[in-house]
């Protein structure tokens, strides 16, 4: 483990932080990294949105043409 965490490490910590309590050191490394990294900040925002979306999940309208907007 190097002194400065990489985006790769911080991405993983962002995800794992949703599933377990991170250690103090892990949290500190992550927060320090956020200060200088827009990429990880944005990723963190994306993960928060995912969580919020699933907590508020509801089935969608009955689609009249189910496949029309499939990518």
């Amino acid at each position: 483990m190097s002194l400065k965490p990489t985006c790769k490490e911080v991405h993983r910590l962002v995800s794992e932080g949703l599933d377990r309590d991170l250690s103090l050191i892990e949290r500190a490394r992550m927060q320090m990294h956020f200060l200088v990294c827009q990429a990880c900040q944005n990723f963190n925002g994306q993960m928060k949105l995912l969580r919020q979306a699933m907590r508020n999940f509801r089935i969608a309208d009955a689609p009249s043409a189910p496949d029309q907007d499939r990518p």
Partner: protein, 201 residues
């Protein structure tokens, strides 16, 4: 005691609305339970529960929220009451270890700047967002989807999930991480990439 007189027309209308939701509920229950008859039971139980206790909802979207919530609790009951399949091969998603690796350069930086998805509340208000979300969930590998839904929809903790699925905690964290990466990619492509407003640099 429910003393509100429910006139026949209202009940019939509720019935119709619930029936219209059945296919979507079933699809979603199946995603979590992976068992046709269990899924049908859960949906049926949920629909009956709503008919017996219609509650109050202001319109369609709140009825969907209500039904989805009831079904969620029925599914948790099923998962907790049965010691179903325990064999769990986490190998499923192993092939894409590169799913994680491909995001980063050799020195651990991201290849691309993840998009700013903007305000979650504004997104979740959009009528079609949950439809796209559901399509993205359906695209996950089966076991990954199950685990992700247990964690994020049913809000079970890793310990309970692993008891049910027979996996180690660290295994679960990696699979959940992969699930999130896949969902993120799918949503980014099919939702956020298509929203001109959210894309304003």
């Amino acid at each position: 005691m429910n003393s509100l007189p429910q006139d026949a027309a209202t009940t019939a209308e509720l019935h119709r609305q619930l029936e219209a939701m059945r296919p979507a509920l079933l699809r979603f229950a199946l995603l979590q339970l992976r068992n046709e008859s269990q899924a049908e039971d859960v949906v049926q139980d949920a629909l009956i529960a709503v008919l017996e206790k219609p509650g109050r909802f202001a319109g369609q979207s709140s009825l969907r929220t209500y039904v989805t919530g009831i079904m969620k609790h029925k599914i948790i009951d099923v998962l907790r009451s049965s010691s179903r399949e325990r064999q769990f091969e986490p190998a499923e998603d192993q092939s894409d270890d590169d799913l994680i690796d491909s995001l980063f350069t050799n020195d651990g930086h991201t290849h691309e700047l993840p998009r700013n998805w903007g305000d979650p509340d504004a997104t979740l208000e959009q009528k079609d967002f949950f439809r796209v979300m559901e399509i993205c969930l359906e695209k996950l590998p089966a076991k990954t989807a199950r685990m992700f839904l247990m964690r994020e929809w049913l809000e079970l903790d890793t310990e309970e999930i692993c008891k049910e699925l027979g996996c180690s905690a660290s295994n679960a964290w990696v699979m959940l991480y992969r699930a999130r990466l896949r969902l993120r990619e799918c949503l980014d492509l099919n939702w956020f990439g298509r929203q001109p407003a959210a894309d304003a640099r």
